[in-house]
Symmetry: C2
Subunit: 202 residues, 2 copies
């Protein structure tokens, strides 16, 4: 199955990008991990550049689907403050799986700076993320947890920015900003916009 093999190659490429850095990725190693020959990799992706670009695209489309849902629906288990706190927590690079995503994310940033072709990929993921967060905020407003005058989009933008900025520092093992401190910074930034106490978002 062509689709299957190509996907396996892309997965292998993503793994290696996260592990060793996009520029350290060698076609031979991708092939090896995917159980294929280098020629087969070239059969599906004419050039190394194309392989890497497709790998990033593949990764982020799939990551977006996983996290934000294919249809974009919000998990309505517990709308309100708790749901927002949960959303924040699972966005930070605390556990292993998220660490991988974060590394890929920073790789994409850097690559997209120089390759405008990739920017829409990043922008699209930001859009979905923003929409997802804004929906959580809206649900919280509807549930009466937040100030009805709050601007969900603005809150989402601020939250994403703090998450990105603080997340990087967590990844860098900054002694001043661990996972818990990062969470507190997000809460401190958006709580006033929602008219709640920062501790409510813990």
């Amino acid at each position: 199955m062509a689709q299957d093999t190509a996907a396996r190659i892309l997965e292998a490429a993503c793994d290696l990008i996260a592990e060793e850095g996009i520029d350290a990725v060698r076609i031979a190693r991708v092939a090896q991990r995917a159980g294929a020959s280098t020629s087969l990799v070239h059969h599906y992706f004419s050039t190394r550049e194309e392989l890497l670009e497709q790998a990033l695209i593949h990764s982020f489309e799939r990551a977006g689907d996983d996290r934000f849902g294919v249809a974009g629906e919000v998990a309505e288990t517990a709308p309100g403050t708790a749901a927002l706190a949960e959303a924040i927590r699972e966005s930070l690079p605390a556990q292993g799986e998220q660490e991988r995503e974060w590394v890929l994310w920073v790789e994409l940033w850097l690559r997209a700076v120089r390759e405008p072709d990739l920017r829409p990929v990043a922008n699209r993921l930001y859009d979905r993320y923003r929409e997802w967060l804004a929906a959580v905020v809206r649900a919280g407003i509807a549930a009466g947890d937040f100030d009805p005058g709050a601007d969900p989009e603005a809150v989402a933008d601020v939250a994403m920015a703090v998450l990105d900025g603080a997340g990087v520092r967590v990844m860098l093992d900054d002694p001043g900003v661990g996972a818990e401190r990062a969470r507190a910074l997000v809460a401190a930034a958006i709580a006033p916009m929602l008219g709640v106490d920062p501790d409510a978002l813990a």
Copy 2:
């Protein structure tokens, strides 16, 4: 002069890192731009890895000195709200020179994730940055512009995180987050912590 030549090589390396990406940097090109031979580069830096690492360190020590002052003093031209607004504005990747610094910054993030040796470089710059912003906030409190109960360190941490997160999106040409929107996000995040109106930080 040995010091001089080594510095010239490091400068050339930084330029190329910013322009083409750290992994695309070729010793021959560094040498060319520095007006030297590849052998001379190896005379000062035994290996390519060492050259690149030293270049990043050189860049950020110097950047910190330029921006935050060697002695760490705060420019006291206009303490208070205006000073903070100015500090925010000049931290964002708006103009050309800042763009270069931002690219190098993201390169450092990515490299430091995989090379723990570099993390102290990043952490140190964050420390200086944080101290600088906190001093601006303190000056504003002393001037009576901000809530006396505000926590300067917390404000600085939140501001840095939003600046980083929003700055990346500016660099990615995100249609939703340009330089002005980025500035507004920082203001929205920290204004409540300072007890001022976000518009005051425009």
